[in-house]
Amino acid sequence: MAEFKHRDIIALRDLTKEEIELLISTAENMREINSRAIKKVPTLRGKTIINLFYEASTRTRTSFEIAAKRLSADTVNISPSTSSSTKGETLADTALNLLAMKPDIIVMRHAVSGAHYFLAKKVSCSIINAGDGAHEHPSQGLLDMLTMKDRFGRLDGLKVAIVGDITHSRVARSDIQGLTKMGSHVYLAGPPTMMPPCVERLGNVTVCSTMKEAIQDADVVMMLRIQQERQGKTLMPNAREYSRYFGLNPDNLKLAKPNAMVMHPGPINRGVEMSSYVVDGSQSHILKQVENGVAVRMSMLYHVCGGELE
């Protein structure tokens, strides 16, 4: 029986296959709570969880907050606009001040890759990464895997296509780290300007030169968000051309396996990386991803609370 001994969850890179399986199976078993009339269990009663979000995120923060509340933990949300970070306080000082209020877990989103490792060295409570820079977004990776497992009953042997800006995507990194550990084969596509060097060395990963090659016979097609502000002027000409070569529409979706899953970490730019026909189509599992997000985050909160100081 796998055991989860980590105090923190910062990256799926740091977890074993067995630990990932345990987090996913716990989430599967916790899902039942979310469909009850009384959606609450007393497990983390008396625990205090701080959601420290240096980047805006309605979806992830809300999901973590609901997950904490369903486990009866108390939650506090702190975001940059209401915190003193704008007054020049360092992350370490902010964390130490928060620590003085005795939280059990800090769930943090931060724009700097690796900020959580820095934080973990400074504080004695658990740290959960809700997204750091272009590094990882482990809860998204786990919920993506859970959603795929729901559909296929397994992750081993799946062909998963991930299309978009891989370089700047923490979702892609967590998906790659998790899926390849679980035995899936990941195919990446995107403009070469958005493909990070040596990415195929991360695991069972194939970099495709066209989107068609990546989604051909795929079991899952994962589309990434294109952010005009991030991709700027040098990574692509404009959304129109991007959509033409790297957008998912009902036509190119036919290349994937019949009834292949379509996923997206959200928020979606309709008409850019995905056509609305696909977003709202029968193969879309996007809302299922969101639903599974709560269960996965409950699982993460539950297991780090039983983790040991490393």
Binding site: E3, N29, I38
Partner: protein, 178 residues
Amino acid sequence: MTDNATVLLDESGIKRALTRISHEILERNKGVQDLVLIGIRSGGAFLAEEIGRSIEVIEGGAVPVGSVDITLYRDDIKSQVPHLPVGKTDITFSLEGKKVVLVDDVLYTGRTIRAAMDALMDHGRPRSIQLAVLIDRGHRELPIRADFVGRNVPTSTKENVALIFNSNNQPIEVVLEK
């Protein structure tokens, strides 16, 4: 089975005890009307299914059977490092107004039953909760008693009572391990 273990009940003994408990449940509740069985994972869940089958044979009517995992309701969760794996709670019917028979393999301190009752309450408001156990080994730490008992076994706290299943999840014996 280890050398220093005594068999308390063999397969047929378990069967007889469960059949008797099934009769008692029906007698007390005057049939299967509004009756549901909820087994506590993992041992109790299999016993609940056995009792369910037995009641169906006796009465000719099926009783809804569910299972509850109490990990998230344990009062010792804080001392469990690392945290225990969470099992699946499977109650696909409403408990509202139902006469619930909670089924467990061994009744000991009563803490598991306390946790299970809390879990059930979160699923709705049953009309009543009764408790059926295969073995009552004593040493209660909470004011809880069983309504239906397969066998009372005096034990010391150093001993362990275990229900053994075969590979088809059929209970085959109850042993006392020293």
